[in-house]
């Protein structure tokens, strides 16, 4: 239990070591099913992207764009792999809701941006709106990663 001191308001919260292992275990135990579910969702999106490519390819007169061909790789690499890693790693803290929203929004923006780029390249045109979406996607994805790194650092420090 936490015992308040005289300068309680100004003193940063430092957990007693005796509490950490139990709570850490509790947090870690929640990450597995969530990340497993996340990996499956991203896998489904990846397969959906593959289907889009196959259908689009049938009607594009053999005109191809790598952004369309490799569309499925965005959710696979940026979604399935990290989730699988977190599931396998196990003893890591669960990302916060903010982190998950930020990161997933970034991956979604990158995937949609790649789809648009593929469509435009096959048609022989381009759009600054697609470029803007790609940049926003990259920023959100990197910000989500940084956010989780911050979470990891805090977790590690408090573990000590």
């Amino acid at each position: 239990m936490y015992t308040s001191g005289i300068d309680q308001k100004d003193t940063p919260y430092v957990p007693e070591r005796s509490h950490v292992p139990e709570d850490r275990e509790a947090a870690v135990s929640r990450i597995r099913p969530n990340m497993k579910k996340g990996a499956l969702i991203f896998l489904g999106i990846s397969l959906f992207c593959l289907v889009i490519f196959i259908i689009y390819d049938r009607f594009s007169h053999n005109v191809r764009s790598p952004y369309m061909t490799w569309l499925f790789a965005w959710p696979l690499v940026l979604g399935v792999l990290p989730c699988t890693w977190l599931t396998a790693a196990g003893r890591l803290p669960r990302p916060t809701g903010f982190t998950i929203n930020l990161y997933c929004s970034g991956v979604a923006a990158l995937t949609v941006s790649s789809l648009l780029r593929g469509i435009f390249e096959i048609a022989g045109t381009a759009s600054p709106f697609q470029t803007g979406l790609a940049i926003a996607g990259m920023i959100m994805t990197v910000a989500g990663m940084i956010s989780y790194v911050v979470t990891l650092v805090l977790w590690y420090r408090q573990g000590k």
């Binding site: 936490y2 764009s65 809701g97 709106f129 805090l154």
Partner: protein, 368 residues
């Protein structure tokens, strides 16, 4: 006073309740809306439109003076027609088979061209159609090479003012489109092919009938075709000159699609050359200059079992065989359309493999 200690993970993020996915719904809606807007903006919504101002055209188009420049090189014109006969030629089907006389000699053509009062006549025989009036002679032939149906229009003009560009809805702008035959019919074209479909892109020089519409460079290596007032055509690189400089130098037309197929009589593409992500077999449209005021327009069918389509190298070879000193690839694929004497002569394959004419931004045409 004792306070219950927060578990460690509250410091790095509160224990999450069952997610309500508010953000996912909001973001998903925004992303869908943004995607729909982008697609509409690129493919559907007309914007950046400028009405074509006929008073701002180059003087050669405004005055209609057709006697500035003498008729083109007749000897090379004859050679071109002979070249066009290679392959299996078949007669074109038409509705005006009123006259099936002998093909006139080049000398007769010159005489005819010099007299601008001559009544237009159309001569059809087994392997070609000839349109002739006092200011131009157009010979249309059809051949089958590389498993592909190819249509060649050999054009001899009395003045560069007869080679013009037409814009969809008489308007410059993105996503302003109209079928090639509709534009050609409206402007009274005798012969027309689709142009460079400038309205599908935001970059690339656009000068039409002596008016500068767009001066944004596509890239330093992008090749454009320039029509000069003396009737010559030249393939230039956008990195070498600005659109404003081209206009100052008197460029009448600048098309930005490419690549250049033939320059100074030599083929400038190879088997790996392609337009964007396109593959080898496609319908194609090309324009070339044999000599000043003597041009050829070539289109090929493609994407069907009856006609495979051409690679750029094959197309360049055909242009060179026709005797072109300069030749340039225009927009192809579903856009490829040739219009002659009131009808579409090729089989455009817009909309999958169906024969359907695609709406385009612009045409290159021969007419008054």
């Amino acid at each position: 006073m004792e306070k219950e200690q927060k578990p460690w993970h509250d410091a790095v993020g509160p224990k999450q309740k069952k997610p309500r996915h508010n953000w996912a719904w909001i973001y998903g809606t925004l992303l869908t809306g943004y995607t729909a807007f982008t697609l509409l903006q690129v493919f559907v919504i007309p914007h950046d439109t400028v009405k074509m101002d006929t008073t701002a055209m180059a003087s050669v188009y405004r005055t209609g003076d057709l006697t500035e420049i003498s008729f083109g090189d007749q000897s090379s014109a004859e050679g071109s027609s002979d070249d066009a006969d290679t392959g299996i030629l078949s007669s074109l089907q038409g509705s005006n088979e009123t006259d099936t006389g002998n093909i006139s000699s080049p000398e007769e053509s010159t005489d005819a061209a010099s007299g601008s009062e001559m009544e237009p006549e159309i001569i059809r025989d087994s392997d070609r159609i000839i349109y002739r009036d006092g200011n131009m002679t157009i010979t249309l032939t059809e051949s089958y090479q590389y498993d592909t149906m190819i249509y060649v229009a050999d054009i001899q003009l009395n003045s560069v003012a007869l080679l013009k560009s037409g814009l969809a809805e008489d308007c410059f702008g993105r996503n302003v489109t109209e079928a090639t035959s509709a534009i050609a019919s409206r402007v009274g074209a005798i012969l027309a092919v689709n142009g460079d479909f400038y309205g599908f892109r935001d970059t690339g020089y656009v000068i039409r009938n002596g008016i500068l519409y767009r001066s944004t460079k596509k890239s330093n290596d992008a090749e454009d075709l320039v029509l000069w007032p003396d009737g010559t055509m030249e393939v230039i690189r956008e990195g070498d000159v600005t659109a404003e400089e081209l206009l100052e130098q008197g460029a009448l037309q600048v098309y930005s699609f490419g690549p250049g197929l033939v320059q100074d009589g030599e083929i400038t593409v190879d088997s790996s050359s392609e337009v964007g992500q396109a593959k080898t077999s496609n319908p194609r449209t090309a324009i070339g200059m044999i000599s000043p005021l003597h041009y050829v327009m070539v289109v090929s069918d493609g994407r069907t079992s009856a006609s495979a389509g051409l690679s750029l190298l094959q197309l360049a070879g055909i242009m060179k065989e026709l005797g072109c000193r300069e030749a340039y690839n225009l927009d192809g694929g579903g856009s490829t359309t040739m219009y002659f004497n009131g009808e579409v002569v090729n089989n455009p394959t817009s909309g999958g493999k169906r024969t359907k004419e695609r709406s385009v931004s612009d045409i290159v045409y021969i007419g008054y």
